[in-house]
């Protein structure tokens, strides 16, 4: 244990904390998908990690399409136009996958009033199917004889290997806090995540659609009697979760730049943890949980060594749940006041 590594030097402390906030912001955006679906359906959508993973590929594909496969290093400003296209593409792709999930993995089960556990298994199955589909994309393209034409996108024979964005986004340092320089990429990730979370929170609190979500979360039958179209609400919930996962995927690719067919798994577990930490079903809880988890991981890595980061994060989760079984802010999508 080395507390000095974390607290001995204020610049290092800031550096560990900022690094944690950046990843925490990405966790939080993914956590929204888990939390919204849980809030409305009391169901954990384990396939949400794959919704995110498809988004990361969409980002890389857009860069290959608009730039080519030649390796390049750009500043954030230069990459911005393509990045915005990639953001739209990733949000659309992720939202489409989320809607497909809702249509084929959940709606048939919900219609038949299947127990929640059945839907959970359906989600796990869908998660594997989606991840493997991405890992076998070269074969699917091969069926149509397109694997040569699409080689840059499906990487024949290497579809399960890492797939990288050819354009590396080089962060520029904007300003210093003490001895720590804040880069534009980190700032954009944190600010973008915060803005999206606030916007979503306001949508749920203030709009007619948001009222529908809250009503369905509170009492689906009563909501239906009051004229809320519950299928639409569920669809909308998946759609929003998918859009947020697509945004998270874009921010992730800005920072990391590489993805793989199983890239969603660990991030999905972390995001789910963040959702539970903050109080699953609670939007503000997802933000708090995500940021807290990201920071705790980095602090844990600083004090105990990087191999202990997950241990520290999960011990913290257990401790929080012992004291507050429903998470830091409680489960309250339905109870949010209008």
């Amino acid at each position: 244990m080395d507390l000095g590594a974390l607290f001995g030097n204020f610049d290092n402390f800031l550096s560990f904390t900022m690094g944690g906030l950046v990843f925490g912001a990405i966790y939080a955006l993914i956590a929204l998908g888990y939390t919204m679906v849980y809030g409305v359906l009391q169901l954990i959508n384990f396939a949400h990690s794959e919704v995110f993973m498809f988004g990361t590929f969409a980002v890389a594909w857009v860069f290959v399409l608009l730039h080519g496969t030649e390796s390049a290093t750009w500043s954030l400003g230069k990459a911005l136009p393509i990045l915005l296209v990639a953001l739209v593409a990733a949000m659309l792709v992720s939202a489409a996958i989320a809607l497909l999930l809702e249509r084929f993995a959940y709606r048939p089960l919900i219609k038949k009033n299947a127990p929640k556990l059945i839907a959970l298994i359906s989600a796990i199955g869908a998660s594997f199917a989606l991840s493997e589909a991405m890992g076998l994309r070269d074969r699917f393209a091969g069926w149509f004889g397109l694997d040569d034409n699409l080689a840059d996108y499906v990487s024949p024979d290497k579809a399960r290997d890492v797939y990288s964005n050819p354009v590396t986004i080089q962060p520029t340092n904007l300003f210093k806090i003490g001895g720590y320089s804040v880069s534009d990429v980190d700032l954009v990730i944190i600010v973008a995540a915060l803005v999206m979370m606030i916007a979503l929170d306001q949508i749920v609190r203030r709009t007619r659609f948001g009222r529908g979500i809250r009503a369905t979360a509170q009492d689906p039958e009563a909501a239906a009697l009051m004229g809320v179209n519950s299928t639409r609400v569920v669809q909308g919930t998946f759609l929003i979760g998918g859009l947020m996962a697509g945004a998270a995927a874009t921010l992730y690719m800005m920072k990391i730049g590489s993805t793989r067919q199983d890239a969603g798994f660990i991030l999905g577990v972390k995001a789910f943890t963040a959702a539970v930490m903050g109080g699953i079903g609670n939007l503000r809880g997802a933000l708090l949980g995500g940021l807290l988890l990201g920071v705790m991981e980095n602090w844990g890595a600083a004090v105990f060594g990087s191999e202990w980061r997950d241990v520290v994060a999960f011990v913290l989760l257990v401790l929080i749940l012992l004291v507050r079984p429903s998470g830091l802010l409680g489960e309250s999508l339905g109870k949010a006041r209008a």
Binding site: F16, E297, A301
Partner: protein, 378 residues
């Protein structure tokens, strides 16, 4: 505990059954030969297969693909030279995982048509499967598993045509302190058998030049904590023990975090994917060592370990074409083999390690991993 002992026992039982089956097959082949008498001097194991066990997909799948390319090239040449004695390839994809490999090892020893194994690809899976193959008497030659402890287990069927991590680690430390002139080296590994072994040797060999160390997890993508530690330590060079995915992400995060020292890693990172993941700018100047020289010009199979896999396959082919009729005969042949492969002179000591080994430093130059012009370290 009880459970694992039990499964180990049943595993051993399966292994011994397989060993019996294998030896039974060997003798039945002999019978055919003497009974028929028409096959003449032809080798006894024609039409059989060589297995490959290693990562074809996953974190380090590119490396296994390189090896299979080397094996296929050797087999293709054999088919052309000896059209009457074709040998096939059965690849088994372990994803490089010590958890997946044992199940595949059982499949391999239970397959009567497999007479030898090129592999296992990595150290972790080698340690996990070595006893199974040894009990079954299946001779194996690994093109790439470099952990020191594998050949200390007494598995006499296990060989490798590549220098171990001890030699590489010492050479890497020497390169960093003498050629680069680094005064403070920070060492990171990913906790796997190969990585810990290599990083451990480097740490020991660095002595006072080691400033601090850290361990990351496989599939970790957020390197910000490591970067902060490296910068806080004032290191002027970093050594990473592990594979190209995390190596690329680490190199990228370090450069973006303002680290300007030398980035060095071992043979697990020596792949073009490293440059793609790190990005050309962050990868520039990185030094990647490997106990393997460049392939001779005009050699068809490219990529790290392709030449070793090609050489390993050719040793099996020489044994089969020389008339070896069972696993034991092949194993004896390998033990006494002396020859010149495309990767260098090949001969084994009594533990199964290659006798002569040379460590090379490869460089990332102009946005590409230069695989043709490495410089020998020793």
């Amino acid at each position: 505990m009880i459970r694992s002992t039990k499964s180990l026992r049943s595993f051993a039982a399966i292994a011994s059954i397989a060993a019996l089956t294998l030896s039974a097959c060997g003798s039945s082949d002999d019978d055919n030969k003497t009974d028929g008498g028409t096959t003449g001097a032809a080798a006894a194991l024609c039409g059989k297969n060589i297995a490959f066990l290693g990562a074809l997909t996953g974190d380090a799948g590119a490396l296994g693909q390189n090896m299979v390319n080397g094996i296929k090239l050797a087999l293709k040449e054999n088919d052309a030279k000896n059209p009457d004695c074709k040998i096939g390839l059965k690849p088994f994809d372990s994803q490089g995982s010590p958890d997946v490999a044992p199940g595949l090892a059982t499949q391999i020893i239970n397959d009567d048509t497999i007479v030898g194994l090129v592999g296992p690809g990595f150290s972790g899976e080698s340690l996990a499967t070595g006893k199974t193959f040894y009990d079954a008497g299946l001779p194996s030659i690994s093109p790439s598993a470099t952990n020191v402890t594998i050949t200390q287990q007494g598995w006499t069927t296990w060989h490798r045509v590549i220098g171990n991590d001890d030699a590489q680690g010492k050479a890497d430390a020497k390169y960093l302190t003498e050629t680069v002139g680094a005064k403070k080296v920070f060492v990171v590994d990913d906790g796997q058998d190969y990585s810990k072994g290599l990083a451990g040797t480097v740490k020991t060999a660095l002595g006072d030049a080691l400033v601090d160390s850290d361990q990351i997890a496989v599939k970790q993508t957020d390197m910000s904590a490591v970067v902060t530690k490296v910068k806080a330590s004032g290191a002027d060079a970093i050594f990473y023990g592990g594979y190209y995915t995390e190596a690329g992400l680490l190199a990228k995060a370090l450069r973006q975090g303002g680290f300007t020292g030398t980035f060095m890693s071992g043979d697990g990172s020596e792949d073009a994917q490293f440059v793609k993941i790190a990005g050309a700018q962050a990868a520039e100047g990185a030094v990647l060592s490997a106990p393997a020289g460049p392939a001779p010009s005009g050699f068809e199979a490219t990529g790290l370990y392709a030449t070793q896999a090609y050489d390993a396959t050719n040793i099996f082919l020489a044994a089969i074409n020389g008339g070896a009729a069972d696993g034991k005969a092949i194993n004896d042949f390998i033990g006494s083999y002396v020859g010149d492969g495309v990767s260098g002179p090949v001969a084994f000591d009594d533990k199964g390690d290659i006798k002569e080994t040379k460590i090379y430093a490869y460089f990332v130059k102009g946005g590409k991993l230069d695989v043709e012009n490495p410089s020998p370290i020793e």
